[in-house]
């Protein structure tokens, strides 16, 4: 699944530390780290909303998608 989490880019742009963001949105640093490295099955809408609020961005700024026709077969 070529959906990529580009959270690192936004964190760098906003000059925020992962630890602070994790604390603000109420998840553990480990969970945020797993999210940043794309090692999760998915992201809840409420987590996405909180991230967007804290990072002052849109969901598209955190997520990216590389077109892959094989996704239709998955």
């Amino acid at each position: 699944m070529p959906v990529r989490v580009t959270l690192d880019v936004m964190l760098a742009k906003r000059k925020l530390r992962a630890r602070d963001v994790a604390e603000k949105i109420g998840i553990s640093e480990t969970q945020l780290s797993l999210l940043r490295t794309g090692k999760v099955k998915g992201m809840r809408f409420d987590t996405l909303s909180k991230l967007c609020l804290v990072l002052d961005c849109k969901p598209g700024d955190i997520l990216d998608y590389d077109i892959d026709n094989a996704d239709l077969d998955a």
Binding site: L32, L34, L35, K41, G42, R44, T47
Partner: protein
């Protein structure tokens, strides 16, 4: 406050279990006072498992009273309840009749297997199996959900 008293349903269920266990033992003492027959006490094996299942059910109410999700307490409670019902049913179906027969004849006739195929026992075994499968499915769903942040 201990989880024992947090849920009235759990407390009531536990009280019921203790009372039922007490009455079961009293029943054996009253009705078979002098015989001392071990075979009579074997009849307590299946109810003991059923009471364990009830107790596990009480734990579910005690530990998941405020929780809305399919948490570990619910999964483990369902698992133990299912195991209790299944074990109780299988003791009632297979172990109890066989043991009773062996003890009654003084272990002189060791051949043949005795079953007590009643609809109630089969229904309890099926209910126990269903709870076990539900608990297993719940654990899988929990693991799946934990993969979401």
């Amino acid at each position: 406050m201990s989880s024992w008293f947090q849920s009235p349903i759990a407390t009531a269920l536990r009280a019921l279990v203790v009372l039922a266990a007490f009455l079961l033992v009293l029943e054996r003492l009253d009705f078979f006072p002098a015989s001392g027959a071990v075979a009579d006490w074997i009849g307590l094996a299946a109810p003991a498992f059923y009471l364990w299942a009830f107790w596990s059910g009480a734990e579910i109410f005690a530990k998941t009273r405020s929780a809305t999700d399919f948490g570990p307490a619910l999964v483990s409670g369902l698992n133990r309840m299912g195991a209790g019902l299944m074990l109780g049913a299988w003791v009632a179906i297979l172990a109890e009749p066989a043991l009773r027969y062996l003890i009654d004849n003084g272990f002189t006739v060791m051949t043949g297997v005795r079953f007590e195929w009643t609809l109630a026992n089969l229904a309890l075994a099926f209910a126990g199996l269903t709870l076990l499968l539900l608990a297993r499915r719940g654990r899988q769903i929990r693991a799946e959900l934990d993969g979401f942040v």
